[in-house]
Symmetry: C2
Subunit: 449 residues, 2 copies
């Protein structure tokens, strides 16, 4: 990032940079205080970069006169986000600082949930009537620019019922004959989204059609606002962050890592760890069930971590690939059978590869260290070929099972209307551990005993 | 997504939808053939939605006359991507289909790598001189719209050396006095990026400043093009997908899941699995080293999977949180010490929680099943309190170790100029498994023996 003009107020720049650095360790009062030390220009830039949650905090700690000033500078969608992030008790007071028209707009936006198209949209956009002439439209748009319409680059053509009938870019207007009608110039085959569409689906549409801007319609086709690509950049980042955090086995943090307090962080992380720990306790029961076998042939216990890790690793791999492909809309619920077949073959191929390496390990150790007659260096006894066969066979079965479990769990979760990303690497590993032990000891008892 | 106008050509719509569905199972010839059956409008929409790789394939399988037509319809940045995706032997021929000026532009773009700002930018943008009047500017921009400039919504003001001195929005021009000079209206304090800046960094700047468009400058401050938010939406999705796939323990797929062939998929997945498998083999050696202990006190082997899973789960959680925070720019290399302290406390807290649950498990099982004198149901012998203490202590140590290893590995990788996302859940689990065994058996020998 380079700034074109050298700034004479270098001291202020440093102050803003300092404030940015210290942000995560300051309390709300300290943040607001630091903020008030900035010059107006710096403060505006700084405020603009803040997330809604931080904006709400800063505004609430400013004197009332300044509060009004900062609120008025925000476009309605960001204003609604800010009000939503404020404590419930303060919301009414914040809304009271706005003029009547804006308050109405904000209340309409607050009716939408934050993660649907209606919660992202800006209700101010440039509008035209189909029967206007091009010349009338251009001067009408010039007037609309004064009312803080976010973008005049696309103008939306609405009929008397506020239904969207077409869109025209400013460029098209400029290139058209001045006496042509808007309806002759406008494009009618356009992409729009519903106000209750999930933000992830809206992001997919932006990506698919390379859009800069999309109109939002209610159930009756009436236009309610526009969503712009800069908002979608944030949505895509947020959604990916949530998915990644879930895949890693914690709840979504909903805030930057360094800004999550200890108690909050503990809550987000301990939940899944406890569930997984309790689930993993079944491995102790499973191991106990095979206690006789372990006592008789203790060499069996040597390979337990290796076999279980094969299940965990193949499972993590398959589940994250499938979770992401579902999130991107690359595979749908009805593709589960295709994924099942693919992953079964993939799991078998990976299992054969790893199993062969496992056999080579047993074989090599036996021949490298056989004269030493020392178990700690890998002497697996006269039946070492059977041990090798047992390792290879279990690795193959566990790899197929891990891969299939990892690949299908996200489908199951989606079918149950849960988030597929809940099929985290640790969850899949835990599920596969218990069953992996059963596979391993069953294989061992067939081959060895 | 709703289309505003009902389409009379419903048959064509179905054909396009069918083609979309069948796409992943068709060969290149079949794709091009299906594509040629679409009406012009449908084909344009379809072509627009395709990724560059698929576009190149389709174009290469069309007759030469049609090739020229489709290439000419693309903006230069997308054209350059398409040429880059074509086999090397075909690139010259494709470039030969373009007119001289476009070919020059494309060659300049091809000099940039795909994942830097220069590789994303469009070299066509609206430009003005600082000394033009507002009225001159408006009519000059009207003329530029005819030359397929991507966007006239921002016009960039360049001096004689092509250096960027300011930016002016069309809206600002419309609101200004007609005889004012551009230099009086333009904004000079603006955000720009370098042509060699990594696309991830560009995306961060878009997210931070909520931009729709950013100018790209070379090392001398000369303006080379613009990057728009719709391209950034794709970048953010791609980068997140790569990170997620790496976190799951495979190489980045670089293509939609269902479109990756078996051999390619095997290559992307087998590599890490083999490395992890070979690494995990050390657990067999570690277990062998404690063979005497296991033979004497076989109850030790029961808890091996449970203890190892604590390391894997806490490690996966910590590493994914830190990997994502680094990718979002929330934490930098120099924050490692703060993260270390946070995670040490977090690991200890999580370890105490899980260790307590583990102790309760041993205690309960002992009292629920003690009369049965049957090890398979959890009778841990007269020293069950020591067994409980051993489990609790190992869980605590392993949790702290897993959390710290997971949190710090991404920093280490970044320090070595590697991708922090390589600190995948399976890699961390494997690293922690071997050391986890050592921690477990050492703790056990201190407490039990």
């Amino acid at each position: 990032m380079t700034s074109i003009e050298d700034d004479p107020l270098l001291g202020q720049r440093v102050l803003a940079a300092d404030l940015r650095d210290a942000w995560s360790v300051l309390d709300p009062e300290g943040r607001a205080e630091g903020f008030r030390y900035l010059t107006t220009g710096e403060a505006e830039e700084f405020f603009h970069e803040l997330e809604s949650f931080d904006r709400a905090q800063v505004v609430l700690h400013l004197p009332p006169v300044e509060q009004r000033w900062w609120l008025r500078g925000l476009p309605p969608d960001e204003l609604a986000d800010l009000v939503q992030e404020a404590p419930i008790d303060d919301r009414g007071r914040l809304l009271g600082l706005l003029d009547e028209a804006t308050r109405k707009e904000i209340n309409a936006l607050l009716a939408y949930s934050e993660d649907e198209a209606g919660g992202l949209m800006n209700p101010r956009y440039a509008r035209l009537r189909p029967d206007m002439s091009v010349d009338e439209s251009i001067s009408y748009l010039r007037r609309q620019t004064r009312e803080k319409v976010e973008s005049i680059y696309y103008a939306y053509v609405l009929d008397e019922q506020q239904k969207l009938v077409g869109v025209v870019s400013f460029r098209q207007l400029m290139m058209a004959r001045g006496d042509a009608r808007v309806r002759e110039v406008m494009v009618t085959d356009l992409v729009a989204v519903h106000d209750e569409m999930d933000q992830e689906a809206v992001a997919r549409i932006f990506a698919q059609h390379d859009l800069m801007c999309v109109p939002v319609l209610d159930a009756n086709g009436r236009m309610k606002g526009i969503v712009t690509a800069d908002d979608i950049v944030d949505v895509v980042r947020e959604e990916a962050t949530e998915d990644i955090q879930k895949i890693g086995g914690s709840a979504a943090l909903d805030a930057p890592y360094l800004q999550v307090g200890f108690r909050e962080m503990m809550k987000k992380r301990a939940g899944w760890l406890v569930v997984l720990f309790v689930g993993e306790m079944f491995t102790a029961s499973a191991m106990a069930r095979y206690a006789d076998q372990i006592e008789k042939t203790w060499v069996l216990s040597l390979f337990v971590p290796l076999i279980l890790s094969v299940g965990g690793n193949t499972g993590s791999q398959a589940s994250t690939l499938v979770v992401r492909a579902i999130a991107l809309g690359e595979i749908r619920l009805r593709d589960w059978w295709r994924v099942f077949l693919r992953e079964m073959i993939m799991g078998a191929a990976l299992g054969i590869l790893l199993g062969t390496i496992g056999f080579a390990r047993v074989f090599l150790w036996q021949h490298l260290f056989q004269n030493k007659d020392d178990a700690s260096l890998g002497f697996y006894g006269e039946h070492y070929l059977l041990v090798g066969a047992m390792v290879t066979t279990s690795v193959l079965f566990v790899a197929v099972w891990g891969t299939l479990a990892g690949a299908l769990l996200p489908f199951l979760l989606k079918r149950l209307k849960l988030d597929p990303a809940t099929a985290s690497a640790p969850l899949v590993a835990t599920l596969v551990d218990v069953t992996g032990l059963v596979i391993y000891f069953t294989t061992a008892s067939v081959i060895l005993l």
